[in-house]
Symmetry: C2
Subunit: 555 residues, 2 copies
């Protein structure tokens, strides 16, 4: 199966991806979990399923503020109590814009658009927590329909959350007040392909595999393959500054965007008349990363490249993380860069490789994965060899390729077994990488001392001046795994801030990183961002509480 | 002389660069001007010099609003009338921050910080136009001094223009009300060099050649060589999104900046904890290009590279601009890119080359310049050959290298002779380049029909998805060359806008492009920018009228 054949995913609320591709834990993993003290929780996580779905629909409440309806022609409308569902006036407004058949009020649709895929999100799904359920799911079909909904949202007292892949792992879909969801899946077109300029205009709801399939028909690729690829969408990539596994070769998504269109409550903005410009600040970069707080990106023009006719992936062994770090830095600074460049540390190497012999025998060592879109580049291999690397051939590379989107699937059975597993990531300049890695690892170990964790780390995105660090944490769940993780995450965030690093390299801010973000940019820059939001979204209907906290004006 | 040996320039108000390097027109050029109908103006442009300096100091006015002073210990203070010079209270404030020896009130200092180097600026200098003269020139020595002046500016009724190289060609130094200039030349330090991360922290007042010299001592280069290189500064590069002649290899200046510090009237903002981040919008890109309208960038952390030990420049011939265009696009999209990549059109090739034989005989043809920092890359040459190019060897390359900063010097004797000469530039996506080039050329020819112009064009900055176009216009001056150029420029701006291109690829907005800029980004984005300015500079003391017009809030 090629990447463009991957099915559109995220089909089961609260479990990652396509159920047809769910995985079982290897027996070796079960044994390893025992060493971490992991025990299968009782009652089992599936408790909620006894009522037919993980989150039970709340009973209607009496005396609510609004008159909630399930009528008005909306499809399969389920009766909702006040506090759930929309009012007759809201429904009439939404239906007038998109047609009643494109407004879903039934519980299943709403529950299926609840939160994202952080471990905390999954744990709350498992607990049947019905907070953060949208009042309605609306499916606009055009930019103008999105624009019309946002323009009328304040008048109809609607807060709006944009949704396509739903793959946020930082609480990006859980605003601070009741809301409706705009599911952008009908914005699924490749609007234009300019072969001379090598640009494609893609609508926001196009998911990763669909984008690749549409471009492949014309002989092109976007080259953006984040771990959320199967489910995430073009609009989400843009709004959250996504970075994919081929970033060494293709760059980040925000580097691919040359133009964009955003609908805001005050109107539409179109940006990008050239690849680069000196016409004032680069406002594209103000919209990219705005996470729906200013409006909804409805389409982007992205740089595309000819689809490669060959690909190569191989593994390389280094004696330790430090020597591997020097090697990948050398490639990042002096080239030639491969398309994929990843370096696992000792712990991640040991955990991920069932067969230690793959490292060529001997104890220790770390694994790097190198990939080329197009011909194999011997010059890259020469740099790795000169840096102390040993070529392990295509075996480990193919193993990685086949499993490149599988890790999130593993989290579900791990949670089933009673393990706590979550990831976090950051970035910094090269000279600070070792201290940052040590500090974050120590913070996690200390915070989880009662359930000693495994802390895995890898580098997967490199630049001339620095790199990202991606951590995976595995330990036994306590009786309150949500608090357990929040405590550990807070400790990691503190370590990241104290190391002078950024709170996120590619996951974004959402609600989980909001406090860390405000500390990172400082009160005055935050106020400037807030002024932008106040201009574009004066009634705070867009993703309220996501990205930006409510702030007081500085004196 | 190597580039790092170049003297700091801009020493004569109203004439470009270092007087020791001024140039005379070749005899052939004088003949060519005759064909354009160019006549030496009478009275000669030097009229103003009869009073000892080009702009005569206005006589003190009676009954002015403020009590202007020349005392208070400021160096060589000249008496200024109301409407010129600062009040005693302003002087006391400024002196209390930077020391009275760092506040200049004398006419020569103020006249020497007047406007920039557009042709219109030069013509106004020649006419002795004393508008836009700052009331004082202040030389802060630290970020904290800059911050203190901006924080107190509103209270002391001071508008502030930052200044280092003074090389704006878009009216970036001529605000809409009386002002003082902050000359940043004392912020001239390389604060830090991180060899592991390959970053350097440079203060805003470091000029191009000084930056290169400081980095060269450590074995590094910034690689930023705009035509304003001799005079322009690090802070100006950042504030105006500069792009240099080696942009194909080193990128734009805004791509080199990984962190920055900006002083604003409301406080200091520091941005950039990693090369790239998903922590919200990239706010660095909101400051880069803000042209002093939000505050003053006092230092930047830039990516640096090892200084090359060899350089190669050579000329290539293509049959016509279109075939050359295909060749440079191929390199931009599929590589390998050289460090310098420039393509002149037929007219520019003919005008710039005194000896047509350099193109290998035969009529017509266009010249491309290719440069490599480091070893010669045969693969690049192979692409050019395969695209129909003929290698002309190092002769034309060396000619270009030796003259790479000379073109602006030529403008002064051309103006002396009565020619009108000016440049403008834009950028667009590849598929639109031919139509854009034709439309701008036609607009200029039509607007200057009574003084038929030569319109030269080249491509000097390329990206995967598009390129910049740089136009040079030469014709005879009318009796009112300022109006003559403004009319032509307005026609070119209109053509750029109608072609969907950007109003500037690397010159910036200033005051000259303000109207075109507001049309380019639209009223809502403009309002968002205005909200940022209102937050950071609530009393509009920073570069008033530059970049942003006063706007009404949209209903």
């Amino acid at each position: 199966m090629t990447e463009s054949d991957l099915p559109v995913a995220n089909l089961t609320p609260g479990r990652w991806g396509n159920p047809a591709q769910s995985v079982e834990l290897p027996a070796a993993a079960r044994d390893a979990l025992k060493h971490l003290g992991v025990r299968r929780p009782t009652p089992p996580a599936e408790a909620g399923e006894e009522s037919g779905h993980p989150g039970a629909e709340p009973a209607p409440e009496a005396g609510g503020a609004g008159s909630a309806v399930g009528a008005g022609g909306a499809r399969s409308a389920a009766a909702g109590g006040a506090g759930l569902g929309v009012t007759a006036g809201q429904l009439e407004f939404l239906s007038s814009v998109v047609g009643s058949q494109h407004v879903a009020l039934e519980w299943e649709a709403r529950w299926g658009h609840t939160r994202g895929y952080s471990t905390t999100d999954l744990l709350r799904f498992r607990a049947g927590d019905t907070d953060d359920v949208p009042d309605a799911v609306v499916y606009p079909g055009t930019h103008d329909e999105v624009q019309a909904i946002l323009a009328g949202a304040a008048e109809h007292d609607l807060a709006v959350v944009p949704y396509a892949g739903g793959t946020s792992v930082v609480g990006g879909l859980a605003p601070t007040r009741r809301f409706i969801t705009l599911d952008l899946r009908r914005l699924d077109q490749l609007e234009e392909l300019d072969e001379i300029s090598r640009t494609a205009t893609l609508q926001a709801g196009v998911r990763g595999p669909v984008a690749e399939a549409l471009l492949a028909e014309r002989g092109y690729t976007l080259g953006h393959f984040p771990q959320s690829y199967e489910g995430a969408s073009i609009g989400g990539y843009a709004a959250a500054r996504s970075s994919g596994q081929s970033s060494a070769g293709y760059g980040r998504f925000d580097q691919m965007v040359v133009a964009l269109t955003i609908a805001t409550p005050r109107g539409t903005i179109q940006l990008g008349r050239a690849p680069m410009s000196a016409a004032g600040p680069d406002l594209r970069q103000l919209i990219l990363g705005s996470e729906g707080a200013f409006g909804i990106i409805t389409s982007v023009v992205v740089r595309i490249r000819p689809r490669p006719t060959e690909r190569h992936f191989e593994g390389w062994r280094f004696d330790d993380f430090d020597s591997g770090l020097t090697a990948v830095r050398r490639l990042a600074q002096d080239g030639p860069l491969p398309t994929v460049l990843r370096l696992s540390d000792e712990v991640e190497t040991a955990v991920n490789l069932a067969d230690p012999d793959v490292l060529g025998g001997g104890s220790g060592g770390v694994l790097a994965i190198i990939g080329f879109d197009g011909p194999y580049n011997q010059a890259t291999a020469d740099v790795l060899t000169a840096s102390g690397g040993t070529n392990l051939g295509e075996g480990p590379g193919e193993t990685w390729r086949l499993g490149r989107y599988r890790a999130p699937y593993l989290r579900d059975p791990l949670l089933d077994e009673g393990a706590l597993v979550e990831t976090l990531e950051t970035a910094t300049f090269w000279s600070r990488v070792p201290a940052l890695k040590a500090a974050v690892t120590q913070a996690l170990v200390d915070a989880l001392s009662t359930t000693p964790p495994l802390v895995l780390c890898h580098i997967s995105h490199v630049y001339e001046t620095g790199a990202s660090l991606y951590f995976t944490v595995i330990c036994a769940q306590t009786d309150d795994p949500i608090t357990q993780w929040r405590t550990a995450k807070a400790a990691a965030n503190k370590a990241i801030a104290e190391a002078g690093a950024t709170i996120s390299h590619h996951h974004g801010i959402g609600t989980d990183h909001r406090a860390a973000y405000t500390a990172e940019i400082g009160p005055l820059a935050l106020e400037a961002l807030h002024a932008v939001k106040q201009t574009l979204d004066p009634h705070n209907v867009m993703n309220p509480g996501i990205l930006l906290p409510e702030i007081q004006r500085l004196s």
